[in-house]
């Protein structure tokens, strides 16, 4: 057992529990529990977004993928900044103005209906669960290396902590933990980057140059191996660029801020952090290939998920190793907390309160059911994670992006922007997009291996057009039904988009 690493992890867990205890006193209502009462400032939300998005899948998975597959791993680091530009331009402000607790609230601002609400809740739950599995797999692999405990024990321990954070602290606690984790991650990545720089004579691209010299030009140039590999990389990036707009745990963060300006400012701050982070991750990957070696990376974990921790150990000794391990654990806990809040909102608010009880539950009962739903989603995610322990988690996360890009994203986008959209189209788009995207993942190479029926592990290239097509066909089918038309589009658009001079006319909104 690495005593220093265990101590760092213990200290970080103690701080997060103290934060949760502090936040629990401010977590009194459903508004507090799901959206922190809308009191979060722009910079806090920007850091929390970074804390939510920069997951173990990114930090562990991308570094490992670059170390093991060369430039093909770099494709994994491209999509997040553009995804947030699209969020900023297209979704953040209307969602902030239309939504209350969940993505489904924004759609319900135009279309009422229990079936649609229920389907949206199921889609949100599937997305959150896939993403939770990714985090649990990363946590389990890392805890095995660090503590020598078995994978199931590690996953269970993390699951208990996550449940404590979200049940007691709600979105207030989750936000503070994500801010804390983002600051830790930024400082740690900076420290590791400086250490790697010191070993390459201060040359920022020294690791790449050395990798090319040692392992050949193929590791730093784009691969042209087969049409399927090429299409996989294009599909992966399409899924990433569009998927964030439909990920409930990320988009719900825009409901926690006071106004549209704070939503924009938070997205912009987060994008600066992402750009710096994703520019240096490939450098860490090449440095791990040079310093740790392919054989050792593969021996630690077949997916390469521990490459960055090993790089820290080789380059910075046990102190840096312990810090990186501690920060990765904090990363996993913070992301899981956000996912748990989003999934409990979908289960308790959308499914139980609105779809089943028609919105008649008391505040107190909604809060209790929300907490129970958090526990339930945690149990399901743990069970699924136990079967996915050897997968490269960056690829698994990208499947979640593709599912979001094919289900919730088209429905949100068309609800806000297409006059001809209706409730039948929304339901058809969700069901069709979910069936096609999840179905293609299940018959793809990540699940069926060499016997796959669909060649791409990330199905976005097929499933995103399929999701939009289902929305369009459903809207055509529902055109003759007045009850499916929902709120008049002009009325919705007037609510969704801030008008010229809004802040001058309503100065109290600036907060």
């Amino acid at each position: 057992m690495n005593v220093l690493a265990v101590s760092v992890v213990g200290a970080i867990v103690a701080v997060t529990l103290a934060i949760t205890s502090f936040a629990a006193r401010r977590n009194r209502s459903t508004d507090d529990h799901y959206v922190a009462g809308g009191r979060i400032t722009g910079w806090q939300n920007g850091l929390a977004l970074a804390g939510d998005q920069l997951s173990a899948a990114s930090f562990l998975g991308i570094t490992g993928a670059v170390a093991l597959t060369g430039f093909s791993g770099v494709y994994l680091s491209l999509g997040i900044p553009i995804a947030y530009l699209l969020v900023l331009l297209v979704i953040a402000e209307p969602l902030r103005n239309l939504g209350r607790f969940t993505l489904a609230d924004a759609v319900a601002a135009r279309f009422e209906g229990r079936l649609l609400r229920g389907v949206l809740a199921v889609a949100s739950l599937v997305l959150s669960l896939v993403y939770m599995v990714v985090q649990f797999v990363g946590a389990g692999a890392l805890a095995q290396l660090l503590l020598g405990v078995s994978f199931p024990v590690a996953v269970l321990g993390i699951g208990v902590l996550m449940t404590l954070y979200t049940c007691l602290g709600g979105m207030v606690g989750t936000t503070y933990i994500q801010v804390f984790k983002a600051i830790l991650l930024i400082v740690t990545v900076l420290a590791l980057f400086v250490t790697v720089l010191a070993r390459t004579g201060g040359n920022p691209i020294g690791a790449m140059v050395e990798a090319e010299r040692t392992h050949g030009a193929a590791v730093v140039t784009p691969a042209h191996t087969s049409a399927t590999t090429g299409l996989s990389n294009i599909s992966l990036n399409l899924g990433m660029a569009l998927g964030i707009m439909g990920l409930p745990h990320v988009m719900v963060r825009f409901l926690t801020v006071r106004d549209a300006k704070a939503a924009r400012g938070s997205a912009k701050l987060a994008m600066w952090i992402y750009a710096a982070f994703f520019l240096v991750l490939p450098i860490f990957g090449y440095a791990a290939l040079n310093e740790v070696g392919r054989a050792r990376i593969l021996r630690d974990n077949p997916g390469g998920n521990l490459a960055v921790a090993r790089l820290a150990e080789v380059a910075g000794g046990n102190v840096l190793f312990a810090i990186v391990v501690g920060v990765v654990m904090a990363t996993i806990l913070a992301v899981l907390a956000g996912l748990s809040i989003a999934s409990s909102g979908a289960a308790a608010h959308d499914l139980y309160n609105i779809a089943i009880h028609q919105g008649r539950m008391s505040q107190r009962r909604q809060l209790a059911v929300g907490r129970l739903a958090g526990i339930g989603s945690s149990v399901v995610a743990i069970a699924l994670a136990l079967g996915a322990r050897t997968w490269n988690i960056a690829f698994l996360a990208n499947e979640a992006f593709a599912i979001a890009a094919s289900t919730t994203m088209p429905v949100l986008l068309l609800t806000i922007y297409w006059r001809g959209f209706n409730r039948v189209g929304a339901t058809a788009g969700l069901v069709g997009g979910l069936v096609v995207s999840v179905g293609l993942v299940l018959v793809g190479p990540d699940v069926l291996g060499a016997h796959h029926l669909f060649p791409l592990s990330v199905p976005a290239l097929v499933s995103v057009p399929a999701g939009f097509l289902c929305c369009w066909l459903g809207s055509l089918a529902g055109r003759g039904r007045p009850e499916a038309a929902g709120v008049a589009y002009d009325e919705l658009a007037a609510r969704a988009f801030p008008r010229r001079g809004t802040r001058r006319a309503e100065p109290e909104l600036i907060g």
Partner: protein
């Protein structure tokens, strides 16, 4: 009254067009990077010791920052204008 309504509708149209066409243009520009690196050999070489593929990747990561800066500046002014 009718003129106000007309101005209001025009404002909403401008706002929606900027969001949709800006988003679409950004997506096309971004997707050009993986499509061209996968389908052509234009980015297989080097520029000053750095792989051209990594330079293209850096562009895909950095240009959204410029887009975000321009949009937030425009949107803040839009909301401030009386």
């Amino acid at each position: 009254m009718v003129a106000d309504r007309h101005d209001e509708n025009r404002e909403l149209t401008v706002r929606r067009r900027i969001a949709l066409f800006g988003g679409l243009a950004a997506l096309v520009l971004f997707m050009a990077v993986p499509v061209l690196t996968v389908c052509t050999r234009w980015f297989d070489g080097k520029v000053g010791g750095l792989g051209a593929g990594y330079l293209a990747a850096a562009f895909a990561i950095l240009f959204p920052l410029a887009g975000a800066h321009l949009y937030t500046r425009w949107a803040n002014r839009w909301e401030d204008e009386a």
